[in-house]
């Protein structure tokens, strides 16, 4: 199905199943432990051996010698796989660091070996007996220094990406009110609950990989390249995933090493990364160094906006584009964004939930708070004043929909924003200083082809198959809701099968594109099934109404199940996008409100209340969507207050690489959260009229927290995370 004009009325608009706050259809499996995650796939291949990844102890250099003798002799060891004995394997252009290193080392904890043994404990013990001699080389690990050099034109890994409209310099120089401030965000880890895990087995020249992966199609493509076998000979299965946040978009060392070791040993091999290996072995969100300049007239209208951002990565790695949202969020005639990328020898930086926008808004939305104060304007009013309904770079291109102003107004009203004292450090509650903060959120809406198959079974039930993944988001449920709505059956009559490369290739999960695209793909397949069913029943497909397990045209009403009298009916199709979204800007918007308390003596920050108001198209399942946003808000609090991988500049690695050192919020940190969805179907996004929601929930949260802290204390913080040591010395005197 081609989506080449805005969606007209369609069966999804009925809202009988879609739009209802539905419990997860896979919830029972998860709460009873019967949803099998990759490490629990004991039954898929017999005689599984256990692999333990050995990570490099240095950040850069070369392995001089590798002594495996003692490890090989340890009890239970089946084999040890290194670059020396793994056999031929290819590399991936999408991986700036090889998944199996040697003898050259590109980053700390880069995999150098996999010890395969009869038990997990034996593999781990033997791994500790491997003796490695390294030639350590000097590396570059200091983003601050590299960003400074890049700004001076001396250290850019690639030419800066510059976007300019109008004459920023002149407008900024002449404006009556201006801000010029620098902000930093640290390296962050996805740290999903389930580490990267795979079981691999070869069956002739076919590779089976039972894994935990967000993008089945990409995984199959990558494995096909690595092992130089046709994609048809690759089978990837990932039905349940314990979180990803982007860390599982691409296959990681667990998958590649399990497959290599399975080839070397002739056994099925199971590998899970140990928790302390996750940050340095896999990917992380790169740190950023940002500079924002804002200029406004005395009336509060922005005249000029500049946002510069720098990040670092290995050669061939991607930048963390913190400036992207700044091109589209606020009106101003003169504007520029400059994105610089530098080379660092830290582990690979890659997408983490709302890549670009999350750290970009952490800075931009503090700057907006600072500017509002300079102008003597309420921060909500200031944002409303500078709203734009068109792409500020191309006024002929409107947003398909943009209800940011309504988000801000609704939020202000519901949150009790009027009670906020505009003057900081005025509100006390016992030993606590109280403040409120606001930030806007923006995240694009990505569209990508997505296919699905739907089968009307002979008993009248439906089976949906697509390689779409459910990374804890609720994909199973919204796909079931889509099929139920389209074919007029109860939710209980739909079975959804996901995450298998033998199913049609979907959008996968990432970039908050999964819900809209995968359901649109299923919409296409269901539309096709409706046609076939109507024809089978001798009804005009254009007039057929599917409801209550019946198909009706006028007064003729036939049972859906009768269409499958002679056998199940299968329909498969994909949604493919034309240029609808090229003529308009399709995006998602939010307003985040936070009330924070700061201990007047110790500077400890505690969040009291949070509210997100989201404008992100039709909400397919308000319960699942709310969970996504609440999770994202929680992640935003972590990013604002505590998360920091901590780069040791001497050794070139992330020091905080386990849950003891890398703090994320616990329940006690998050007392009250609420979410409001404006729920405006967007006919330019897809036939589902839905958009992304999971990343929008994070965009702006960090700045709302920091702005609330400022309102509480009067101390402005610009370097994340905002730990108490950064404002303690500047806090008001204590009685």
């Amino acid at each position: 199905m081609k989506f080449d004009k805005p969606a007209g009325p369609n069966p999804i608009d009925q809202g009988k199943v879609i739009g209802k706050p539905t419990d997860r259809i896979d919830g029972r499996f998860k709460t009873t432990g019967t949803a099998k995650y990759a490490y629990e796939r004991h039954d898929v291949a017999p005689h599984q051996a256990y692999g333990h990844v050995v990570g490099s102890a240095i950040a850069k250099g070369r392995i001089r010698s590798l002594n495996l003798a003692e490890a090989r002799a340890a009890p239970g060891v089946v084999d040890i796989v290194t670059w020396q004995n793994a056999g031929a394997y290819g590399t991936l252009p999408t991986n700036p660091a090889r998944l199996l290193a040697g003898p050259d080392i590109q980053h700390y904890h880069q995999a150098i070996a996999l010890v395969v043994a009869e038990s997990f404990e034996q593999a781990r013990h033997a791994a500790s007996l491997i003796r490695v001699d390294y030639d350590r080389a000097d590396g570059e690990f200091d983003l601050a220094a590299q960003a400074k050099a890049a700004e001076a034109g001396k250290a850019n890994a690639v030419p800066p990406t510059i976007s300019k409209f109008g004459d920023f310099e002149t407008a900024f120089a002449q404006a009556p009110v201006k801000l010029d401030a620098r902000y930093t965000t640290p390296d962050q880890s996805h740290f999903m609950m389930e580490p990267h895990t795979s079981v691999a087995a070869w069956e002739g020249d076919t590779l089976h990989l039972w894994t935990s992966n967000q993008m089945i199609g990409w995984a199959a493509d990558d494995l096909s390249q690595i092992f130089r076998i046709p994609r048809a000979n690759i089978h990837v299965s990932s039905p349940y995933i314990g979180g990803g946040f982007g860390a599982k978009l691409r296959i990681k060392s667990d998958a590649m090493l399990a497959a290599l070791a399975a080839r070397v040993t002739g056994r099925a091999v199971k590998v899970a990364l140990a928790r302390p290996q996750v940050p340095n072995n896999t990917v992380h969100r790169p740190a950023t160094a940002q500079r924002i300049q804002l200029a406004a007239g005395a009336d509060g209208r922005l005249l000029a906006i500049s946002h510069e951002g720098a990040s670092g990565n290995l050669a061939g790695g991607r930048p963390e584009n913190a400036t992207s949202q700044t091109r589209l969020l606020y009106a101003a005639p003169h504007r520029q964004t400059i994105m610089r990328q530098t080379l660092l020898d830290l582990p690979e930086g890659n997408s983490m939930r709302a890549p670009g926008e999350a750290p970009g808004l952490m800075a931009l939305e503090i700057a907006m708070d600072e500017m509002a104060e300079k102008l003597g304007l309420d921060p909500v009013e200031f944002r409303i004043l500078n709203d734009t309904q068109v792409d500020p770079q191309d006024p002929s291109r409107p947003f398909s929909q943009r209800h940011l102003v309504e988000c801000l107004k609704t939020g202000a009203d519901r949150f009790g924003w009027a009670r906020r004292n505009a003057k900081p450090a005025q509100t006390r509650d016992g030993a606590w200083l109280i403040g409120m903060g606001v930030a806007a959120g923006y995240r694009g809406n990505m569209i990508t082809k997505s296919a699905a198959r739907v089968r009307l079974e002979t008993d009248g039930s439906l089976t949906v198959e697509t390689d779409m993944t459910d990374i804890g988001t609720g994909s199973y449920t919204i796909l079931a809701q889509t099929a139920a709505e389209m074919l007029g059956v109860p939710l209980s009559r739909v079975t959804v099968k996901l995450g298998d490369s033998t199913f049609p290739t979907s959008s996968g999960s990432g970039g908050q594109w999964g819900a809209n695209n995968s359901t649109a793909g299923l919409f296409a397949a269901c539309s096709k099934l409706r046609e076939i069913v109507a024809q089978k029943l001798g009804l005009d497909p254009a007039l057929a109404d599917f409801a209550d397990e019946k198909v009706r045209v006028g007064k003729r009403s036939l049972r859906l199940v009768d269409a499958a009298r002679d056998g199940a009916i299968v329909a498969e199709d994909a949604i493919e996008y034309g240029d609808v979204a090229n003529k308009v800007r399709v995006a998602t918007f939010a307003a985040h409100f936070v009330e924070a308390a700061v201990h007047a003596f110790t500077g400890e920050v505690r969040i009291r209340r949070m509210l997100a108001v989201c404008d992100c198209g039709r909400i397919l399942n308000p319960k699942a969507a709310r969970s996504q946003v609440i999770g994202a808000m929680t992640m935003g609090v972590g990013g604002a207050l505590m998360e920091d991988l901590g780069v040791d500049q001497r050794f070139g690695y992330f020091v905080h690489h386990d849950f003891a050192q890398y703090a994320v919020p616990v329940h006690a940190d998050i007392p009250h959260q609420d979410v409001i969805f404006l729920d405006y179907p967007d006919d330019k996004s897809s036939p589902m009229k839905a958009k992304g929601v999971a990343e929008l929930g994070l965009c702006g949260v960090g700045a709302a927290v920091v702005n609330a802290v400022y309102n509480a204390t009067g101390v402005r913080l610009r370097d994340y995370p905002m730990t108490l040591d950064k404002h303690l010395a500047k806090l008001p005197m204590i009685a």
């Binding site: 110790t602 505590m642 040791d648």
Partner: protein
């Protein structure tokens, strides 16, 4: 995890015999710290002696009106004991400020006293650490030292001591009772139980002889006064102290204060206690008079003063 053998003993004599048969063996009770360290190859004992069946799981009054707490009393039970809550509130508060409910259910008093440091460099066997690998150096010095100690540091180690419970025991002047392998018992004042790292190797940690077993902790008679434990950390729960203040403040404004998070051991000074009526600044200055902070943990000096101020303000209120 290195392969190890395991046995379970029921008497101190059997524990001593087991230790004699397996030099280098480690005692295990709750296992909440030791097992983690074994999985990470930081502790690699060849033999474990499980002491959970020893008869040290009671809390009982002493002749002079204090309390004897068996080494195997679980942290949860100790914090919830009505006598502890009534007469030694600072101890109860300190315990519930630590770890998680699940860990406190499992962890014992003896094990809590013996917690190893949470220094991130101690936890990564690729990195130098004099505590884990004497002579390899201290990566925390010049490294990411935001959580590290500012007082009691030595030339070879700046590890903070992590136990909250021990800070409360320090302010209460508790004593640690032990039995040695030859059957001799002794009582070690809590002030002497945790060692400064010192300037020579190996890094000092605990005042126990090889095979010496903690049997209990004795609390002196109740002090009265207001008992407080203020723990400052990076999140609201389940995090180690950046700074903690254990305090017992009397109605006349005198009292005692011990610090956690700032020292290589629970930190207290009799001279500082005498300054309590003069306020937080004087007390903090005396407690931290020989502080050697790094650029990253210098904030603990001010944080200590302000946390003591919070505690004193609360005591008045």
């Amino acid at each position: 995890m290195k392969p190890f053998s395991y046995e379970r003993v029921a008497t101190p004599a059997a524990a001593a015999a087991a230790f004699a048969a397996h030099p280098g063996a480690r005692f295990i009770a709750g296992g909440t710290n030791l097992l983690d360290l074994m999985k990470l190859q930081i502790e690699q004992p060849a033999h474990l002696i499980d002491v959970q069946d020893l008869p040290f799981a009671q809390i009982e009054p002493t002749a002079d009106g204090g309390l004897r707490i068996g080494a195997l009393v679980r942290n949860t039970a100790l914090a919830a004991d009505p006598r502890v809550r009534r007469d030694y509130g600072v101890l109860s508060k300190a315990i519930v400020a630590g770890a998680s409910a699940q860990l406190r259910n499992k962890a014992t008093v003896g094990g809590n006293l013996l917690q190893r440091t949470r220094c991130p460099y101690f936890y990564d066997t690729n990195l130098p650490c004099n505590k884990r690998d004497p002579g390899s150096g201290c990566a925390a010095m010049g490294g990411i030292s935001r959580i590290h100690a500012v007082v009691g540091t030595g030339a070879a180690c700046i590890c903070p001591f992590p136990s909250d419970m021990s800070v409360a025991l320090r302010v209460l002047d508790a004593a640690v009772e032990t039995v040695q392998t030859n059957g001799t018992t002794r009582s070690i004042p809590i002030a002497d139980f945790h060692l400064l790292p010192g300037d020579t190797l190996p890094v000092g940690e605990f005042a126990l002889q090889p095979g010496e077993l903690i049997t209990g902790v004795v609390l002196p008679p109740p002090l009265g006064g207001k008992h407080q434990f203020h723990k400052v950390r990076d999140r609201a729960s389940y995090a180690f102290a950046l700074v903690s203040v254990a305090a017992v403040i009397q109605p006349d404004g005198t009292g005692r204060i011990a610090l956690g998070g700032v020292g290589t051991k629970p930190w207290r000074s009799g001279a500082a206690d005498k300054l309590i009526p003069r306020g937080a600044k004087a007390v903090a200055a005396r407690l931290l008079e020989n502080a050697m902070p790094t650029d990253l943990n210098h904030y603990k000096i001010l944080l200590t003063e302000r946390t003591i101020a919070a505690v004193l303000a609360e005591a008045k209120g």
